[in-house]
């Protein structure tokens, strides 16, 4: 019987309580630790050939009959008022079939609050015709003074949400107890996701149903949002995303482009594509906002933290959310006295969007650099300082962790950390070498609801059906592995059908490192349901008890030694099919489900030019059971590489006077290239979380990007003594920090 319970759900660090229906069937035990027949063993991506050969059809590749192309007129000003707008000249342009302006669609505005805010759009029979028509729209702008300084915004009360204050214990008393207090101001820059496939949708009316083909991380979220906005029954919106070209957090919602495509499709009666250009992508598709962090830490001489204090400013932009930059300070260490204050400034800058561990990437940079400054003052080994302040239970709400193996991560980091004398000794000429480390905490437990079906035909092959999306993380492959393991089938006999809300059950968002921990248990439950049915059939056919039968290597195996190919059993059914159904169960009650890890970086710094080279990064993470070691390694490496970009090269630059975005192209916005990649050593603990679902797997998308910046900057300090407080570490910032370190050394050397 189904039972209704209340459970906690977390996405990107935001918790909500929700009702969930739990199956009363007996719970499925986790598989033993270590590789199984398929799970825990490296598997190439199931869709690797399709993607590599260019056969995979992304939203960008879709060409529906009669499809029109939209182009969007975006505000060239950070803040302006549209005094007059006339779409008529654009409507009359060759090839143009539709146009919309402020008032026609809720996302179009006549009071744009950021450079790139959508004002009007046209639909034409080619992208070129649509772009040409934009120039014909007659607009009279009144340019207004933009608000760009986040601290000024906070003084003026221009906030995205209310100020957040957090207190644990008494920070004042904690600082009074401290033998050493360190403080620092840390700043992180705005970075842009820049997924290779830009944000885009193709929308078409089919009878009373709206079809939305979209590059998205959340098929069902798009369905629900669009249905609610249009006042349609949910299943009259069909959302399709079979292949998508990256998201990194920016593709969780419908965005302006989807609503523009819908409006123009409604107006013209034709399918409409609205695809952002790369320049629009750098203006109006979200970003990781910049932060200012004023931090203090107090400790006793033995390293015990007595107090932590942080004042966090998120320069959110015109819209978005104020992320948990304070999170690491509150959660990472066993410190009884913590005070944080956090504000999100509403500014005339492009809205932010979740970006791979939002808040924690920024907050870990500040906190973990401060910890190294503390270690230096205490003359304590930085790894030892972290070990001494290890949290055995969650300090925010006192709950135990469902599992935590951070000390084991620290232990495995020791050999990498112990190389530092050898690395430092490589210094030569103007090059200085050093090693740094940083710890990591994040969510990643996923949660219900999520559903999967497993269909088995008479040929003994299985298809996993669920309307999830694979955003490039390899979840399609991981789901097939889980089903294959449960069904005792070789991987090549399992397929996965996903990507269409009309062709499968509800599935989790692919954000917050949640796809595997949310979807995996549902897939396993569905496969177990199908396996049970096969065994029931085999038991009846061969007059055996069900309990002596199991599935292995594509066969139904009896404890007495007999065995039959699965297809011989399912073959009895002819065209009948076995359908297994599975649902994600609740998260463990009263526990905190989190991920942990540490990274150790080797860097080289040219003290004359300020050039920084990352030579090596060792990453050790505790994310529960690993489903596919091959894909998991790729996730970690990719996260580190994005972290290197965040640390050294990427920055969205804005004209400080006008608020217009200067870095709109991929030559101005510097993404890492293959030539920027250091040696990487990836170690995943692969210890199942015994309390978490039937799998014990947590998510892996976000943890690897979190500690990278702090590990690199701490290595820079180890190499040179320079204290970098601002990202990215441009040569200018590096040379400034080196000069400051030289001044400091001079003062210290001077006789008192």
């Amino acid at each position: 019987m189904a039972r209704l319970i209340r459970t906690e759900k977390e996405v990107e660090g935001r918790y909500t309580e929700q009702w969930v229906v739990v199956d009363e069937d007996e719970a499925i035990d986790q598989w033993p630790q270590g590789p199984g027949a398929v799970v825990g063993r490296s598997a190439p991506r199931l869709d690797g050939y399709e993607r590599a050969r260019g056969q995979a059809a992304y939203t960008a590749d879709l060409a529906l009959p009669g499809m029109l192309h939209a182009a969007v007129l975006r505000s060239p000003f950070a803040r302006a008022r549209v005094k007059k707008i006339d779409l008529a000249p654009a409507r009359k342009a060759p090839g143009v079939l539709g146009a919309v302006g402020p008032g026609d669609v809720h996302v179009l505005t006549d009071e744009p609050g950021f450079h790139g805010a959508p004002v009007a759009a046209v639909a034409a029979d080619s992208p070129a015709a649509a772009r040409r028509a934009l120039d014909l729209i007659d607009v009279e702008w009144e340019e207004l003074e933009p608000l760009l300084d986040p601290e000024e915004a906070i003084r003026q009360g221009s906030l995205i949400e209310d100020e957040r204050i957090y207190d644990r214990g008494d920070a004042g008393a904690g600082f009074a107890e401290a033998d050493v207090i360190v403080e620092g101001e840390y700043r992180t820059q705005t970075v842009v996701h820049n997924a290779m496939e830009t944000h885009q949708s193709v929308c078409r009316w089919e009878g009373d149903t709206l079809e939305v083909y979209i590059s998205t991380q959340y098929i069902w979220g798009i369905r629900d949002a669009v249905a609610a906005k249009l006042g349609l029954p949910q299943d009259q919106v069909r959302v399709v995303c079979n292949f998508m070209g990256g998201g990194f957090g920016a593709k969780n919602g419908p965005g302006d482009y989807t609503y523009i495509a819908i409006a123009l499709a409604s107006q013209t009666g034709r399918p409409v594509r609205c695809a952002l250009t790369r320049r629009e992508e750098n203006l109006a598709a979200g970003n990781r906002n910049s932060t200012i962090q004023r931090l203090r830490a107090g400790a006793r001489a033995d390293g015990t933290l007595t107090a932590l204090e942080g004042d966090f400013v998120n320069a959110v932009g015109w819209d978005g959310w104020s992320g948990p930059t304070y999170g690491p300070m509150e959660m990472l260490y066993a410190c009884d006295n913590v005070h944080t204050r956090s504000n999100g400034a509403k500014l005339n800058l492009p809205p932010n969007a979740a970006f791979r561990a939002p808040g924690f990437v920024e907050g870990t940079f500040g906190l973990e650099c401060l910890l190294d400054e503390l270690a230096s003052r205490l003359e304590l080994d930085p790894l030892e300082l972290r070990t001494r302040n290890h949290a055995d239970a969650d300090l925010v709400d006192g709950r135990p962790y469902s599992s935590k193996n951070l000390l084991e991560c620290y232990r495995r980091a020791e050999p990498h950390w112990a190389r530092r004398d050898e690395v430092r000794a490589r210094s030569h000429g103007t090059w200085r070498y050093g090693v740094g480390l940083a710890s990591q905490i994040w969510y990643g437990g996923g949660g219900p609801p999520s559903y999967a079906w497993v269909r088995i035909g008479s040929d003994g092959r299985a298809t996993v059906i669920t309307a999830m999306q694979d955003i490039g993380t390899g979840t399609r492959t991981a789901m097939a592995q889980i089903a294959a393991e449960e069904l005792g089938l070789p991987l090549e006999r399992v397929r996965v059908t996903l990507g269409d809300s009309a062709r499968g059950p509800y599935a989790s968002i692919s954000a917050g490192s949640s796809t595997t921990p949310s979807m995996g248990p549902a897939v396993r439950a569905a496969a177990a349901d199908a396996a049970r049915q096969i065994i029931e059939i085999a038991a009846q056919r061969h007059h055996l008890e069900e309990r002596v039968l199991s599935l292995k290597d594509g066969r139904v195996v009896s404890a007495d030694g007999g065995s039959w190919p699965i297809e011989e059993i399912t073959g009895l059914l002819d065209d009948a099919q076995i359908l297994g159904k599975g649902a994600r169960g609740p998260n463990p009650t009263g526990m905190r489900v989190l991920t942990f890890g540490i990274q150790v970086a080797d860097v080289a710094v040219d003290v004359e030019t300020g050039e920084v080279r990352v030579e090596r990064i060792a990453a050790i993470h505790d994310i529960g059971r690993v489903i596919n070691p091959l894909g998991a390694r790729s996730q970690v490496e990719g996260g580190i590489i994005q972290g290197i970009g965040h640390t050294l090269s990427e920055e969205r630059l804005v004209d400080p006077r006008t608020g217009t975005v200067l870095t709109q192209t991929l030559d101005a916005y510097k993404l890492p290239t293959i030539a920027d990649v250091p040696e990487m050593v990836v170690e995943l603990l692969d210890i199942p979380d015994e309390h978490l679902t039937n799998l014990g797997s947590k998510g892996l998308g976000e943890p690897p990007i979190i500690p990278t910046a702090a590990a690199i900057v701490n290595a820079i300090r180890d190499a040179t003594g320079a204290e970098v407080h601002t990202l990215p570490v441009t040569r200018e910032e590096m040379l400034r920090a080196l000069a400051e370190a030289r001044e400091r050394a001079k003062l210290e050397a001077a006789p008192a």
Binding site: H193, M196, G472, E637, Q642, I674, V677
Partner: protein, 146 residues
């Protein structure tokens, strides 16, 4: 103006408007959507195709300038050993940049069957991958004949 385009060994007539890029012609006139356009201004390498074996950015190449040169796209490299190498080494994540990566790599290994790490990094530095599959791309190109 109608022109003959030699693509993957087949001559096809197309009639693109003046100003159309090779990428647009391949994708829209010929339906060869394996060639991706990610920036549209020659900065990312996703649209890479070969002209007479040399890697070229098709999003900033006007189709009318191609002339007699032989165009090779990812569709013409479907059986190239690099495809297996990319899949085997997990050299792709979202896969959107992958066709361009493989087209670039194929030009490299055709000229230099055993490229050094430095050569691979040099030749592939113009192909951006936001997912960061770079270490595996390097491995795939270095081991393409395995």
């Amino acid at each position: 103006m109608a022109i003959d385009l030699k693509v993957n060994g087949v001559v096809q007539q197309v009639d693109p408007p003046v100003g159309r890029t090779l990428a647009e012609s391949l994708r829209e006139d010929l339906g060869l959507t394996g060639t991706k356009v990610a920036c549209g201004e020659g900065h990312c390498g996703a649209c890479t195709v070969q002209l007479d074996g040399l890697p070229v950015l098709s999003c900033i190449t006007l189709v009318h300038t191609v002339g007699d040169r032989e165009v090779t796209t990812i569709e013409g490299l479907r059986d190239h050993p690099l495809i297996d190498a990319f899949v085997r080494t997990d050299a792709l994540q979202c896969g959107f940049c992958t066709p361009g990566q493989i087209v670039s790599a194929a030009a490299l290994v055709a000229a230099e069957p055993e490229p050094s790490v430095e050569r691979v990094r040099h030749a592939m530095a113009g192909n951006l991958c936001r997912c960061g599959a770079y270490p595996r791309i390097e491995e795939a190109v270095l081991t393409w004949r395995d």
